[in-house]
């Protein structure tokens, strides 16, 4: 929605997911404004995200496995940088 004002965290999320999962479709949506002043708002404006990702790598993988693949691709970002992330992972054709 505001891709032209994408911050460094969103850009890094996109880069890591693209490198690891070669997505056919990828949207990294910054929800942080909705959580301003709540727990986990670190003032960066990049603490809460929704990721919608479609990748052939998810075919034959169950929901838990798909999220593990996303979490693995993001690595230390999930622990250190991102407070909250909603993940929607699909294989093509689903």
């Amino acid at each position: 929605m505001h891709s032209e004002t994408k911050g460094p965290v969103a850009t890094e999320i996109e880069a890591r997911l693209t490198a690891a999962l070669s997505p056919a479709r990828l949207a990294v949506i910054n929800d942080s404004a909705k959580h301003r002043g709540h727990t986990g708002d670190d003032g960066s404006g990049e603490s809460h995200f929704t990721v919608e990702i479609e990748s052939a790598a998810f075919a034959g993988q169950n929901r838990v496995q798909r999220q593990r693949m996303v979490n693995q691709a993001l690595g230390d970002m999930m622990r250190d940088t991102v407070h909250a992330m909603a993940i929607k992972a699909r294989a093509p054709g689903e």
Binding site: H35, H38, T39, G40, R63, V64, Q67, R68, N71, M78, R79, A84, M85, A86, I87, K88
Partner: protein, 110 residues
Amino acid sequence: MSDDAQARIDELVKANHVLLFMKGTPLFPQCGFSSRAISILDHLGADYETVDVLQDQGIRQGIKEYSDWPTIPQLYVNGEFVGGSDIMMEMYEAGELHTLFAGKGAAQAG
């Protein structure tokens, strides 16, 4: 990792048919994702227990290692890890969560 925390988590997971590790309590969830998980469980009329990880640092860290899952909430049914709030929502929308509770709940009745 504390072995004590792992043992306590294992005990909790095995002792409760439907167990949600969450931040806060069902009445006062301290995080949007935990709040959403509770809404889903309540909507399905599930008979569940919760553990507030904010009250116990050992469990808060340990639960992430127990299931190799980096986030909270986490749902366990019949001792098995089901997923976090995104997976709960997807399973709810697909009618799968209802089946999971109904099927296994019936088997446990009595």
